[in-house]
């Protein structure tokens, strides 16, 4: 035991304790994620984004709110303004760096609220069946029937403008697809023998749903969340564009695009730079999500 390296200890066939087993399976998951080049690429971008958001005041060369009308709409590569300046002479690079905080904030909150709400509604509807299923699924249908942005607009109009309300509105419109996926998964799981077996041990429905059904629904939800990431960022941007999301002069990426839209023919970089930022982050989420799904998939997990 003592001459065993840490790696051997983690890769053992016969773990000696629960903690050992958990660490070993985490390590094996990490190894399989690491062998997926694209997923690691996505993870790298997201780690960079996190660092960027965390260190924004240090990294940004300028104050993101400082206006300089004499130097407005400077092109790329100008000295002191690597990515140029926008219509009010603010440094685009600094605004992008500070904007990563807002983007991360919105994306994280929506990505937590919407799938969780969907998971809850979908699994309860799928597992209990009967009238609960009918009621919950018809509510889901009603939410699905509205175009997403229009519904979000209505919510923001009712709740008031601002980032928190935008997050809430986007989450409220984003959960129904998750509920549908979770319900479909639950329907196939609930009649399986392993659920019957745990029912025969006297487990109550709450325990069955949270401990036995949720872990199996999560991998397909993660894929869906990562695919939705770009849509979430754009929905936030759309609300910002309509004056109902992030308020100017906040450097939210979507709001920056809509500001730059006015100059898109003559000064393309003003809208393109935040667009590229959104594209990169969405791509990173997609790549990582795909890799995570491979790791989390129960059918070939740990192999």
């Amino acid at each position: 035991m003592s001459d065993m390296t840490l790696r051997q200890w983690l890769l053992t066939d016969a773990p000696t304790s629960r903690r050992h087993a958990r660490l070993a399976s985490l390590y094996k998951g990490w190894l399989s994620l690491r062998s997926n080049t694209m997923a690691m690429f996505g993870l790298g971008i997201l780690v960079a984004l996190l660092l960027m958001a965390f260190l924004a005041p240090i990294l940004a060369p300028h104050d993101p709110y400082a206006q300089d009308l004499a130097n407005r709409l400077l092109p790329l590569g100008t000295e002191g303004h690597v990515l140029g300046t926008d219509s009010l002479g603010r440094d685009i690079l600094s605004r992008l760096i500070h904007g990563s905080r807002i983007t991360l904030y919105i994306v994280t909150l929506v990505a937590l609220i919407a799938p969780l709400a969907g998971l809850l509604v979908g699994t309860i509807a799928g597992y209990t069946g009967g009238w609960a299923d009918v009621v919950l699924m018809r509510i889901t249908d009603i939410f699905l029937a509205f175009p997403r942005l229009v519904l979000a607009l209505a919510f923001v109009a009712a709740l008031g403008a601002g980032i928190e309300n935008a997050v809430l509105a986007i989450s409220l419109t984003a959960w129904p697809p998750y509920a549908r996926i979770a319900r479909a998964e639950t329907l196939t799981i609930r009649s399986s023998d392993y659920i019957s077996a745990v029912r025969l041990q006297g487990a109550n429905p709450i325990r069955i749903i949270t401990k036995h059904i949720w872990p199996l629904c999560i991998s397909s939800l993660i894929v869906r969340v990562t695919l939705d990431m770009a849509g979430i960022i754009l929905a936030a941007a759309g609300l910002g564009f309509l004056g109902l999301g992030a308020q100017p002069p906040s450097p939210e990426w979507g709001a920056m695009i809509s500001e730059g839209r006015r100059f898109i023919l003559d000064h393309w970089w003003v809208a393109t730079m935040p667009g590229l930022a959104i594209f990169t982050v969405s791509l990173a989420f997609n790549l990582l999500g795909d890799g995570l799904r491979d790791v989390l998939d129960p059918k070939d997990g740990g192999q």
Partner: protein, 254 residues
């Protein structure tokens, strides 16, 4: 007092014109410590009787009593789950794909209210002939026979008196089948269990059971002792044809 008493049991699925009567007027009793077999072809309602006992088939009428206590509806109480456990047919479907052996067994023990979970998990794994190195494995890392051993350990975790066996070996290789059957025989002796076993395999029933009931189209056509089975002395023509089919040229013998 009989351990399992079933009288006039009807089980059906669906309602109205879609109603299918899976079991019609079944009646038999199983004594404490006995091993009772239910045989018949696919669709004859053998497994449905087990599902009605455990409450997994909600629509039934008639009388089912376990250890003298009559059951009603499809809700079962904690005392029932401690007394009666079931081993499912397909070990590939009866274990949660994301739960390790340790998780399966400790959750079961926790649900039955045991405190010394660690010691009991170790003992259960030894009981079913799986060593400690299997404790933290996941189902996809186990063979079919090993999975079935885990399923048996799970059924025994709550220290039941009655174990319902739903074709426990039909999804396994012939060589593994024998191991699992011997394990079940040993465990029955060791823990003084009562078995109610469903199978379409007469040699398996002949090996495992004391008495058996032959089922056809949802009805029990004959209840006989295993001696009569071995001596090929069935009363009912259907049971006789079943017996003859099982020793037909080319099939394996008991």
């Amino acid at each position: 007092m009989s351990m399992i008493e079933i009288d006039g049991l009807n089980v059906w699925f669906g309602h109205g014109p879609d109603r299918v009567d899976a079991v019609k007027g079944a009646a038999f009793t199983v004594e404490p410590g006995e091993s009772f077999g239910l045989v018949g072809e696919s669709g004859s309602g053998k497994s449905t009787i087990l599902r009605a006992i455990t409450g997994l088939a909600p629509d039934w009428s008639g009388r089912i009593s376990i250890g003298g206590r009559a059951l009603t509806g499809h809700k079962r109480d904690r005392a029932f789950y401690r007394q009666v456990q079931m081993v499912f047919q397909d070990p590939y479907a009866s274990l949660h794909p994301r739960h390790s052996v340790d998780q399966v067994l400790s959750e079961t023990l926790q649900l039955h209210g045991f405190r010394d979970i660690d010691a009991r998990v170790v003992r259960l794994l030894d009981d079913v002939g799986l060593g400690q190195k299997f404790r933290f494995r996941y189902p996809h890392q186990l063979s079919g026979g090993q999975r079935q051993r885990v399923a048996i350990a799970r059924a025994l975790a709550g220290e039941p008196e009655i174990v319902l066996l739903d074709e426990p070996t039909s999804a396994l290789d012939v060589s593994v089948q024998a191991e699992i059957l011997n394990l079940l025989t040993d465990l029955r002796e060791e823990h003084k269990l009562t078995y109610l076993m469903v199978s379409h395999d007469l040699p398996v029933i002949g090996h495992m059971c004391d008495r058996l009931a032959v089922m056809k189209d949802g009805e029990i056509v004959e209840v006989m002792a295993v001696g009569a089975l071995r001596a090929m002395q069935a009363q009912h023509p259907y049971s006789q044809s079943l017996l003859e089919a099982s020793i037909a040229p080319g099939s394996r013998s008991a």
